[in-house]
Every structure is written in structure tokens, then in C-alpha cells.
């Protein structure tokens, strides 16, 4: 379509060629959209991603459990007094990703730490009650988190993420 267009003035021929090319280009782009869109989570995956409810009663002090929400592991840690104090006594400003412990737990539920158990470095699953701060330790590349799930050393750039959740009662949370 770029053959013999030499005149400086736009002609009817140019218009026809440009219009045809533009319509064909728009059509091709539109036709590609389903091929892109089909990669997104399908309706059943979206529907299965609704919030989950977790009963906290069986979790004893000092115990951390793992539940799954949207395919991600969620750590629910029942912290001891010592762990809570260790988390609260740190000066948040000195941390790589400054956050106070109060910002990471729900008010009045200091003993419960709920975090997404995925290392913010490259996605491995840290191990609870390990590492220098007895919080979480990621065995893949050595990131160390404290009892509030905050990054203290190692290559991870951010604290363990806190998922959306709320307390339905003192012994029941809804995550999601």
C-alpha cells in the first residue's frame, strides 16, 4: 500500500489507503484482545478467591499456623508476651521498612500476627520461629524477619505483607 504515493497534496487515493489500513489495524488489535484477556484468572478462580474464616481457638500461645487464601500461605502466629514486647520495643525509624508493631496488628489483639507468608525478596516461604530475632527466616536467600514480620536483615526489601482481615470475635478472623 505504499507504492506510488508521490504527490504532496493528500489525494482521495491516499485517504482510501490510510482508511483501509487504519480499519484493518484496529480490527487486528481488537482481535488480539481475547487472546490477552484469556490469560487473566477465570471466573471460577475469581469466585474461589472469596474471604475465608479461621477459628483461632485451637492455636496455643507460641504456635504459628499456616492457612491458604487465594493460593497464598497466610501465617497466623499466636505471639507470647516476650515476642510482643520484642516487637514493640524496636525503634521503627531504625528499620529498613519502618513500621511500628501497632501498625501491623489489630488494636486489642496484640497477640495475633497475621501476615502473608511469602518472602518479599523472591517469593519463598519463610520458616516461623527461626532466625536471629526468632521471627521468620527465609532459607532461600537468608532474609531475617522479626516477631512482627518486619524485615531486619537480608536481601528482602519490605516487611511481610499484612492481608486484609478482621476479627469477627475474639477467636475468629475473616481473611480477605
Amino acid at each position: 500500500m505504499t507504492t506510488t504515493m508521490s504527490s504532496a497534496e493528500p489525494t482521495r487515493r491516499d485517504f482510501l489507503y490510510v482508511a483501509t489500513g487504519a480499519v484493518a489495524a484496529v480490527g487486528t488489535a481488537a482481535a488480539l484482545w481475547p487472546f490477552v484477556s484469556q490469560m487473566n484468572p477465570d471466573a471460577s478462580t475469581v469466585a474461589a478467591g472469596v474471604p475465608i474464616e479461621v477459628d483461632l481457638a485451637p492455636i496455643t500461645e507460641g504456635q504459628a499456623i499456616k492457612v491458604f487464601w487465594r493460593g497464598k500461605p497466610i501465617f497466623i502466629s499466636h505471639r507470647s508476651k516476650k515476642e510482643i514486647e520484642a516487637a514493640q520495643q524496636v525503634d521503627a525509624r531504625s528499620l529498613p521498612d519502618p513500621q511500628t508493631d501497632a501498625q501491623r496488628v489489630k488494636e486489642g489483639h496484640d497477640q495475633w500476627l497475621v501476615v502473608i507468608g511469602i518472602c518479599t525478596h523472591l517469593g519463598c516461604i519463610p520458616i516461623a520461629h527461626q532466625g536471629e530475632y526468632d521471627g521468620f527466616f527465609c532459607p532461600c536467600h537468608g532474609s531475617v524477619y522479626d516477631t512482627s514480620g518486619r524485615i531486619r536483615s537480608g536481601p528482602a526489601p519490605a516487611n511481610l505483607a499484612v492481608p486484609p482481615y478482621e476479627f469477627l470475635s475474639d477467636s475468629k478472623v475473616r481473611i480477605g
Binding site: 500500500m1 505504499t2 507504492t3 506510488t4 487515493r13 482510501l16 489507503y17 482508511a19 483501509t20 480499519v23 484493518a24 480490527g27 481488537a30 484482545w33 481475547p34 487472546f35 484477556s37 484469556q38 490469560m39 487473566n40 477465570d42 471466573a43 471460577s44 478462580t45 469466585a47 474461589a48 472469596v50 485451637p58
Partner: protein
């Protein structure tokens, strides 16, 4: 691929690359400056159309694989999940399944064009033989692909086709066992067929590259069948052939999209919406329409081994065509006798296709034998003799002398329409209904029929009530989730209403922390639970008959519409045989005629194939209370529940028809623009 290149690299980079990998001059020589005979008609655009279809099939196929599970227990379900839950999944699958048919429509036209204009004659023998190889690869790929949904036709088609190989003496049985990877068709067969179905298209791509290479060495044939002599006989491929091909592609896409958006299941078989059942063969086992002529040849021969040999010979003989045709003249235009024989041969092929879809009995078999003999005689006797005896008309001295003023476009469109209709016409769905003397269900008018069809929300809600209060006692709805009730294009419940419906059901879940299974109220994400824990329990509770899952029943049932209705149905988009049948069945109960031997525990239904149905009459007047004042009659109940089941079978029907209209309008505009662009490009060439 050619020695025509006049490409001169301009930029520094182009010069640098040209010295190392002359890809620009290669493309330029093969697809830009390449001299194309100037008298090519639109039949020559099918080469480009086939390339387009190959790309469409590759793209859609690669995407389908992302959602498909090649396992005997999960394949069918994964295809349904694709159609229902994946974004545009229904579109991608219908593009692929109809794309296979369109690929064959185009290849048959391409082949018959070659036959008519003598494109296989020297020096184009290798080009032609490569084409035959591509055709064989296409047939294998199409067959393998059709088995993947693992429906009834997939399973039994695979059984019949693989049994071809059991015809060989001594090695037959071990060969078939080897092909299957078991003692019957099963999961190992499905997995290897899936692997090969993914592999063969790339082999086709390789063969196409060779085909195009050979084409660019010997040059294109043309309607006059004389070789180009001077530069005046050809035009540069770009823009002339490119714009002309684009017009052909755009019109072909219109034809293709008509099927995809409006009659997506016309070319398939209703039986393939029934999951594979190794214990029951469908009443009429028919291959896809594009294999029907060869299937007729197979069945025409009364000996198993000879039938299989005849089938392969009928395709293989094409490779010998360059030597069977003894004529010095290529184009049938200048061969008055051969031209008529060509059309007779086309009619014989169509006739064989029609017979392939008919039951192998009585006059059909006799007719198939006559046509089979003619088919082989055309190649083995007629072509060698006519080539020698025929008095041909004088050939033009050159292509430029041959040309023009031939107004072939309109004639070609008509011919294409007739040809395509004839080809796809074989797809006339064969079903058991009508074959056992059962009356044909009345054609009803449905709100969801036609290009602008939409579901009637109130009707779907009434139909759902009937399902819930009556059908759900025995029939599952396993592919439908509660969330679907609140989705657009459905019965129009709110999410809260759908959640309330879900909560009425108990769903088995678990195991819990103690390792026990437990029941909990349903949630939006759950599917409708089956009323029975397994098929055996369902049979035991229903006198040995298994109540089928109703999710796709409206697409899994049909009846024969007969000639010429199945052709008219393509144009009118009447695709409602399934709903007609379901409605009729619900109202078809009556007392068995005196001479009918009704088995114990069965009921007589005049629309049910064989008439003896396990299900007692499920609905009667006044049984279900309607709040909206609709008549509480059996007739109304039957229509309402059928409409609901049509929605469960095709939940994206409204979206499909809406998008279809947009696509149709777009392609009409594009075709018009391309046509005028082409005219302008060619104006200077004439």
C-alpha cells in the same frame, strides 16, 4: 526462494545485515517484487486464505492448550470450564472448532482449483505432491483434534479410525494395541493424541514452507495455463496480489464468523456434548463432514482390508495426478470435454460426501459403490484417455492477450456460496430421532433464536423453579455454579438471591482437621450438587436408568432436519433442534400402541428414540406454582424449563450474538474498503 530480487539495501544497517543474512532481500524477492501473473482470479486467493487459517488455528490452539486437561477423566470437564469460565473461552474454542472446518472448506476449493486449471502439471509436480502431503497432515491433525474433547463422537470416532489399522493381516491387532497404549481406547490414547495434535500443525508449517518455496521456484499457474513470457504478463506481488488476497481473506472471514457467532455447533455433532462412554456407541457414528467422501468409499467396499486400502488409495492417487493426466493443455478452459468431466467429478465427490453421512444400508450402499468406481475411474481411465483424445481449443499466445474484461467476481461469489453450502451440507446432524419412525419435534419459536436472540429472564426464572422443584430430584446440573445465576446474560438474579439459593443446598466438603468429610451450606462458587453420590447409586434408584446431567442437554440432543432445511438453517440461523426436542420429549408421553412391546419399568414416549424411556412423565398441568401469572400448563412448563436448560448449556449465548453483530458489521466495512483499495491498486495495472 527466488531469483527475482531487485532489492538494494539503503541504510547502513540493512547493508550490514544483507552481507550476513540476506533476509530483507529474501522477503523482498519472495513477497514484494515476486512477479504474479496478472490474470489470476479470486480462486487464487485461497492460498493466502489457507495461510491465514493456519495461523488462526495455531494461535487459538496454543491458547486452548492453556486451559485444556489431557486426561480421560478431566478433558470433557476442562473444555466445559473453558467455555463457561475463561474470558472469551467460548469464542476461542468456537474459532478453533469451526476454524478446522473452514480450513477444509478452503483446502478443498484450493485443490479443486488446481484440478480445474491443471496446476499439478509440469513443472509443478513437486508443488502439487507437497500439497497432497499437507492435505494428509491436515486430515490427521483434524482427526486427532476431534478426539480431544472426549465426548461420545471423540471416543467412538477414535475407535473407528484407529481400527482401520486392525485390517492389516498379522500385524493389525498388535499395531492397534500399540496405537492405543492399552487394550481399548483410554487415557494413554488421549494423551498421545494430544501430543501429536500439538506436533502435527508445526509439521504442516514446515510442509507449507516447502510448498511456498516450490511455488516460488516454478511460479504460479494462472487461469489461461500459459506461462508468463514478458514483464507485461505479470504484476508485482505487492501491492497487487496482496490487496486481492486481502479482499478474499476478508470475505472468507465473514463466512467463517457467521458460523462462529451464529451457528457454532452446526458443523459439529450433538453427541459430542455427551461425555465419552466406553459402554455405549452413538446410534449413528459419522466422521466430521470433511472426511465423509472417504468414509463412503470405505463403507462401499464389503471387505475390511480392501475398504481401508481403497480409502487410503483414494487420497494417495492424487499424488500421481501429474502423470495420469496426459493432456498437453493445462487449463480446463481450453479443454471442452475435460471441463464437463471435472464438474461431474465434483458432483461425484459431493455425492460421496452425502452418502458418507447416510446409514450404510440398502440403496445408499449401492450408490456409494457406483460413485466409488467412478471416483477411481476418473483418475485411472478418464484422465489418461481424455488427455489423448480430446480436441482442445486454441490457447492464447500470452497472458496479456488472454486477459480482461472477464467479470468473474459475482460469478465466483455465487459459485463459492453454492460450493461451500454443498460442502458444509454434509454436516446435517444425524441423530437417532426420526430413524426409528419417531415423529419430528415441532419447530417452536424461541426468544433466544436468531441473530438478535436474547433469553427471557422471567422465563429462565420460571424454568429454574421447575428444575429445582421437579428435575433436581434425579438430574444434576454439575457444570453450573450458583454464581452463574447472578451473571449477565442469565436469569438475572442478584448476587444475594443466588447466594440464598446456594445456601439451600448441602455441599460435601473436607476433609477437616480431624480428617472427616463434612457437609456445609453451598456458596456462590460451588456447582449444583448431584442428587446421587455416584452413577451407580443413580442407576440403582432409577430402575437401572441413569438420569443424565442436564447442564448441556439442550446442546447434546438433536434430530435430523432433512434436505433442504439443514442448508436453509445456516442462513436463517435456526439452531434450536435441541430445545425443540427437549420440549417435545417432556410432552411426548402417551399410552403405548397395542403392538408395542414396552419393557417393564419403562414408559412410552413418542419423541424418545426407541420410545421406551426410563423416566416417567415428570411434569403435568398445575404441578408447579407460578407467581407471575404465566399459565400453569404442561406446555408452558416444558418451554420454560427448556429455555432454562438452553441457558445452562450456552450461558454466553447473548454475548456471542452481540459480539457477532459487531464483528459482522466490521468485516463488511473492511471488505468494502479492501475491495476499493484493490480496485485502485489494479487500476494502473490494466
Amino acid at each position: 526462494m527466488s531469483g527475482h530480487s531487485t532489492y538494494l539495501p539503503q541504510s547502513g544497517f540493512a547493508k550490514w545485515l544483507e552481507a550476513r543474512l540476506p533476509i530483507f532481500s529474501f522477503v523482498h524477492g519472495s513477497f514484494v517484487a515476486y512477479p504474479s501473473p496478472r490474470n489470476l482470479n479470486y480462486w487464487w486467493t485461497f492460498g493466502g486464505i489457507l495461510s491465514l487459517m493456519l495461523v488462526v488455528q495455531l494461535l487459538t490452539g496454543i491458547v486452548l492448550v492453556m486451559h485444556y486437561t489431557p486426561h480421560a477423566d478431566m478433558a470433557f470437564k476442562s473444555v466445559e470450564a473453558l467455555m463457561r469460565d475463561v474470558n472469551y473461552g467460548w469464542l476461542l474454542r468456537y474459532l478453533h472448532s469451526n476454524g478446522a472446518s473452514m480450513f477444509f472448506v478452503a483446502v478443498y476449493i484450493h485443490m479443486f482449483r488446481g484440478l480445474y486449471y491443471g496446476s499439478y502439471k509440469a513443472p509443478r509436480e513437486v508443488l502439487w505432491i507437497l500439497g497432497v502431503i499437507i492435505y494428509l497432515l491436515m486430515m490427521a491433525t483434524g482427526f486427532l483434534g476431534y478426539t480431544l474433547p472426549w465426548g461420545q463422537m471423540s471416543y467412538w470416532g477414535a475407535t473407528v479410525i484407529t481400527n482401520f489399522f486392525s485390517a492389516f493381516p498379522f500385524i493389525g491387532e498388535p499395531l492397534v494395541t500399540w496405537l492405543w497404549g492399552g487394550y481399548a481406547i483410554g487415557n494413554p490414547t488421549l494423551q498421545r493424541f494430544f501430543s501429536l495434535h500439538y506436533l502435527l500443525p508445526f509439521v504442516i508449517v514446515g510442509a507449507v514452507v516447502l510448498h511456498v518455496w516450490a511455488l516460488h521456484v516454478v511460479g504460479q499457474n494462472n487461469p489461461a495455463g500459459v506461462e508468463p513470457r514478458t514483464a507485461k504478463d505479470t504484476v508485482p506481488f505487492t501491492p497487487h496480489a496482496v490487496t486481492k488476497d486481502a479482499v478474499g481473506m476478508s470475505l472468507f472471514l465473514l463466512f467463517y464468523c457467521w458460523f462462529v457467532f451464529y451457528t457454532p455447533n452446526f458443523l459439529g455433532h450433538a453427541d459430542n456434548y455427551i461425555p465419552a462412554n466406553p459402554g455405549v456407541t452413538p446410534a449413528h457414528i459419522v466422521p466430521e463432514w470433511y472426511y465423509l467422501p472417504f468414509y463412503a468409499i470405505l463403507r462401499a467396499i464389503p471387505n475390511k482390508l480392501m475398504g481401508v486400502i481403497a480409502l487410503f488409495a483414494s487420497i494417495g492417487i492424487l499424488a500421481f495426478l501429474p502423470w495420469l493426466d496426459t493432456s498437453k493443455v493445462r487449463s480446463a478452459r481450453y479443454r471442452p470435454i475435460y471441463r464437463q468431466l471435472f464438474w461431474i467429478f465434483v458432483a461425484v465427490c459431493l455425492g460421496l460426501g452425502w452418502l458418507g453421512a447416510k446409514p450404510a444400508e440398502g440403496g445408499y450402499v449401492l450408490a456409494a459403490r457406483v460413485l466409488t468406481i467412478y471416483y477411481f475411474a476418473h483418475f485411472l481411465i478418464i484422465m489418461p484417455l481424455v488427455g489423448k483424445l480430446e480436441k482442445t481449443r486454441p490457447l492464447p499466445n500470452s497472458i496479456s492477450e488472454d486477459i480482461l474484461g472477464r467479470k468473474t467476481v459475482a460469478a465466483m461469489l455465487v459459485a463459492f456460496a453454492v460450493f461451500a453450502a454443498g460442502l458444509v451440507g454434509f454436516a446435517a446432524p444425524a441423530s437417532a430421532a426420526g430413524e426409528h419412525g419417531a415423529p419430528v419435534p415441532p419447530s417452536l419459536s424461541w426468544s433466544f433464536a436468531g441473530p438478535f436472540g436474547k433469553f427471557d429472564k422471567a422465563q429462565l426464572q420460571r424454568g429454574f423453579k421447575i428444575y429445582k422443584e421437579v428435575c433436581a430430584g434425579c438430574h444434576g446440573l454439575g457444570y453450573v455454579a450458583f454464581r452463574n445465576l447472578a451473571e449477565p446474560g442469565g436469569p438475572g438474579y442478584s448476587e444475594a438471591q443466588a447466594a440464598a439459593v446456594a445456601a439451600e443446598y448441602n455441599i460435601k466438603d473436607g476433609p477437616n482437621d480431624a480428617g472427616d468429610m463434612f457437609e456445609r451450606p453451598g456458596r456462590l462458587a460451588d456447582a449444583f450438587p448431584s442428587p446421587f453420590p455416584n452413577d451407580n447409586a443413580a442407576r440403582a434408584a432409577n430402575g437401572g436408568a441413569l438420569p443424565p446431567d442436564l447442564s448441556i442437554i439442550a446442546k447434546a440432543r438433536t434430530y435430523e432436519r432433512g434436505f433442504p432445511w439443514f442448508l436453509i438453517d445456516i442462513v436463517t440461523q435456526y439452531q434450536e433442534q435441541g430445545p425443540n426436542y427437549v420440549t417435545a420429549l417432556l410432552q411426548g408421553y402417551e399410552d403405548a400402541p397395542g403392538d408395542f412391546n414396552l419393557p417393564a419399568g419403562a414408559n412410552y414416549n413418542k419423541y424418545f428414540p426407541g420410545h421406551a424411556i426410563g423416566m416417567p412423565q415428570p411434569l403435568s398441568d398445575g404441578q408447579v406454582t407460578y407467581e407471575d401469572g404465566s399459565p400453569q400448563t404442561l406446555e408452558q412448563y416444558a418451554k420454560d424449563v427448556t429455555a432454562f436448560l438452553m441457558w445452562t448449556a450456552e450461558p454466553h449465548l447473548e454475548a456471542r450474538k452481540r459480539l457477532g453483530l459487531q464483528v459482522m458489521i466490521f468485516l463488511l466495512v473492511l471488505s468494502g474498503l479492501l475491495y476499493f483499495t484493490k480496485k485502485r491498486v489494479w487500476a494502473s495495472a490494466h
